[in-house]
Assembly symmetry: C3
Homo-oligomer: 455 residues x 3
């Protein structure tokens, strides 16, 4: 049995997040969490399908897994990324031989239990097994249709997958997630090869054909499921990992230095080398990465902070996912997703609430349609290697592309493409410089000072 | 004896404050404070004259008084608000019958003692009694003229009221406040009816006539007096009520939750359900209303905060009156008056001092003349239901009308009418977006970090 | 022996710093530090050469020295400031008579040891003595050339000073600093008189002539040396004086009031009358001047704060030199040099780092060439009597002239001349005021509040 972990996607809809596989949740890359779960469930032979854009990083990450006794992980390149999932499976087939395969998408995050269920189910007599997620309300995905005719030969088997049937027309309460286990997959490979490569849904079309000939079984699953498609899904995932990976009590590495006046409360994990300075507060759930500094008066709550960050003086980071090497200084960062190496000038602010407190929209698809986010609190989204000037504000849901710089004193209410340098256009930066005719009263301050500390 | 409490005024000069009667000082509406004082002095039968704009709210507030044993309070509608004080008295006369009346303006706030003095004085033999406030320096009001001729029959009686006589021409050091007690008021009613309703000063004209026939007595008073005409008078009243209603020691309701690291010092009253979070400081005098949160690192001093407010992270509120349901987040609010349901985005600031530190002017009257405030520290004034975007600054003395929204990053130096949505006009929001040619040194931060916590 | 302390320079290149002699380091004017050192070394008879612009202040400062037993200090006016150093010496010669002279520039700060070395060396048999600073790498100054021919009559004597020889062409590793002691200076005076007064380098030319006739000896010196030419040199000096004048342990005057929750750590000196309020942190090295208030949550580190300042609520001052009577309120001030009586509105920020983290340039010389600073962290530089509006940001290395005011919400990226009033030019301050059509959900806040203090 070989796992084909599909990780070659280019995260287009997650932009400006560069590659969701490499987001680190509580110290581990997302793909590490998935590899861990697969190995724990008993899937020890894994092919990670990458693309030219992430192959090197995937190899680096999987190296330590490969050195373990727990199995073998090979990173394999998908040559034509436009061939999508079908292309990835066919490329993988060059090294799977006739082995059974377990196809897993890196776009879906599920509990360990889902992998366990698939591992156990695979010992039954069906040809293919699909993870079937039980939904409680309508979700615009692919619904699993099962033969419920008890007199039928195929009773209990999957007979089709109905894409977005519309509310009320669902053939079941089970949605198809891409955790698909196929025994003797040569027929699948053949069918994929015979399906036109122009089609986006080549794999789905192939499944549809196979279901008519082979026995497909649904593996019902009720636990955690989170797709990772849009950037704000990172916040949902963060909540999941914070809850999963930490405790009711602070878990502080002994090498961390915590000021006596600092407060660390609740479900907080603090990695080695962290320094927490005077009067800082970390309110769980929270994760603070290696060698990060949480400076004077800072407040971190409901957030993941990566490694080597500086949460500077008088900065609040609330309900946000922050990558590595990010620097802050007297900032507010709320409900924000941020890549690596982003720096904020003093006083820069992430707005996270509309004035009318309505749902925040973010970005536009190729049809110029703004995407709904389902959130009325959402900050901006940042890629990697970004610099923000002092006093600059960025509006809710705005996306700032990697390698961009925003100068000081701006109000950013539009998405910024990667690699841009943004400043105020003249004349919005024009000053009027007059002679100063005001006279200051040298004694005015004395009286004011008098009242400063009255009690 | 019936009190006629004049509360139908539309607070035009106090705008954007909606109705000064309903400002809550230390948990009680201003009009409640006045009703309390009247009842304590022995005036148990009260007619509150309201207008269509505030009748419902007046009825709601007075309901609890009416249920008490202490007397009866009726809210009565003045039909034509443009008829002013004379109209209110005549409308009230429909239910006073021939009872003696005590006319009290809700525009003046005085000590309990003033009501007590009036109550006692009314047992003397005069026909009418006016509260006479002793001034120490010239004030542009109505001065009481008393017959000082000891041989005169009317010796000691009031013979007239001189409006704004000009400094040096005052007929006495006593200013007329509208706490007027009239016995057998039918003659007053008749005179009012006979005075042209075109006149603004109909009541004053009527008094003038009556003084020639009836015996008017001044009731001298030296205690607290504060007119409530302009919005900044709310700050004067606040100081009064803070001083009056609290103690040298904090008075904290047992249901309040106070973090161990929070500091509460001096004359501070904390209502039920309040939460004070880590490192917050409340420096007396101060009042914190029911269920309000004073969050991490916040500083509140010399202020009244209403109920259900959130004084968020790293916010300072100094010498300000804040209504109910107001939210702040890393803001500075100084010397400011604010209605209910006002929210500030992070980093928004109330400026409260001119650069030249001179007196702040506020608003314009119908002649486009800016009003002097007598203050060199005064923040902006806010009505109800207002939203302020992140990083927006509002200049000293500026008035923001109810139901308005100001977007982010603005500098507001003009009054904003009610119900407006304010944003930067293009091109003041134009950005110039260039290609970013800067190269970042990956090691630059290491050295900086080295120095961060050196000691 | 008379010291001629040259203090008439107009600090042109240090602008907007008004007069570097009057910068107070750790409670003492720079010129006091120099006078102290001279007296300690044994130089008791001192002529301070001033100009019309600083004579009065020099007299005030030196008065207390003159009253001491330690010697006599006379302030003497240089009449033609354009005549430079030569002019100052010749003006001084009118009162030195034939006494030996020790010429000291106030532009160079050296250790006590340098003065001691000069005092001791002067008892040898040479005619003139120049302090010779040993450099370890090339510095663009005047290098001392010594006769190294052991057979020569003038072996070991200085034979010339080579100005900026270029790296690799240095005649020695010794740079000439203006601590020059001349015995029998009448010949020097004569030579100066004979040298054309059109030349900038009149004194240097005179020395060159004299070296051919008289015996000049180098006094080698390896200790601290800091020129005070550009404003950022003040930061270098600050580091020096902080290190020199304080201790590993806080040194707090008993009259200072320190809140129990405040933290004072390391090499910190606190002058009389200082108040440090709740949760403030002062991290050494730091000096806090008389009667200054460090308010709630403020952080001061690596800085000198003058007297009568207010470091207001939630303000960070890092690695900065702050004069007297400066006020802050929720500001960030980093790597900044500031004169006296400068006030910041809430939220105003000193930017101290370029977005590209490269070296900061500051100002322009008469050829419009920006000056390199050798620093990648440098805030703006402020003169005296300046007011900054709320939310205004000033970019790194920008110079703000004395007696200027900057209004609110500006981003200042250009030098501001003295005596200016700066505001946004229309239309960059134009607002668009529309009707507000947004509807607020009265219950939205309840749910948000629910999550505020969850743990």
């Amino acid at each position: 049995m070989k796992v084909i972990l599909l990780a070659a996607g280019r995260s287009k809809r997650a932009k400006p997040i560069e590659d969701k596989n490499f987001l680190r949740f509580c110290g581990k890359y997302l793909i590490e969490h998935q590899l861990d779960s697969l190995q724990k469930a008993g899937f020890t032979d894994i092919i990670v399908m990458g693309g030219a854009h992430n192959l090197q990083q995937l190899r680096k990450i999987t190296k330590k897994f490969t050195n373990q006794d727990s199995g073998q992980i090979i990173v394999h390149e998908q040559m034509k990324l436009d061939d999508g999932m079908a292309g990835a499976i066919l490329d993988a087939s060059k090294i799977t031989g006739d082995d059974d395969i377990f196809i897993v998408s890196s776009n879906d995050v599920v509990d360990q239990k889902a992998y366990d269920l698939m591992f156990k189910a695979s010992q039954n007599g069906a040809d293919s097994y699909l993870l079937a997620y039980k939904v409680e309300e309508y979700f615009p995905g692919g619904y699993i249709k099962v033969d419920t005719d008890s007199s039928s030969e195929s009773h209990g088997q999957i007979t089709g997958i109905i894409e977005k049937p519309g509310e009320g027309n669902e053939p079941s309460n089970m949605v198809n997630l891409v955790l698909h286990l196929h025994k003797n997959p040569s027929e699948l490979y053949q069918t994929l090869r015979e399906t036109s490569s122009d089609r986006d849904d080549r794999y789905e079309v192939a499944l549809d054909k196979l279901m008519k000939e082979r026995k497909f079984q649904a593996v019902p699953y009720e636990g955690y499921w989170q797709p990772v498609k849009f950037p704000w899904h990172v916040l949902d995932l963060m909540d999941h990992f914070l809850e999963k990976h930490t405790d009711d009590q602070p878990n502080i590495d002994p090498s961390a230095q915590i000021a006596a006046s600092a407060t660390i409360r609740g479900n907080v994990k603090i990695a080695p080398g962290v320094r927490v300075l005077d009067n800082a507060v970390i309110q769980g759930p929270a994760y603070i990465g290696e060698n990060t500094i949480v400076a004077n008066n800072a407040l971190v709550r409901g957030s993941i902070i990566g490694k080597n960050c500086v949460v500077g003086y008088s900065t609040e980071i609330a309900r946000s996912f922050i990558g590595d090497d990010c620097w802050f200084h007297t900032n507010y960062v709320g409900d924000t997703v941020m890549g690596n190496n982003v720096s904020f000038g003093a006083g820069a602010i992430c707005a996270n609430l509309r004035l009318d407190e309505k749902e925040i929209k973010s970005g536009e698809d190729h049809n110029k349609v703004s995407q709904t986010t389902g959130r009325n609190k959402l900050g901006p989204i940042f890629g990697d290697n970004i610099r923000i000037g002092v006093q600059t504000s960025i509006m809710p849901g705005i996306r700032i592309g990697s390698n961009s710089m925003l100068t000081s004193g701006l109000t950013i209410a539009q998405d910024i493409a990667p690699g841009k340098f943004v400043k105020a256009a003249a004349p919005s930066q024009d000053l009027e410089i007059l002679d100063n005719r005001a006279q200051l009263d040298p004694n005015a301050r004395d009286e004011m000072k008098q009242h400063l500390t009255d009690d």
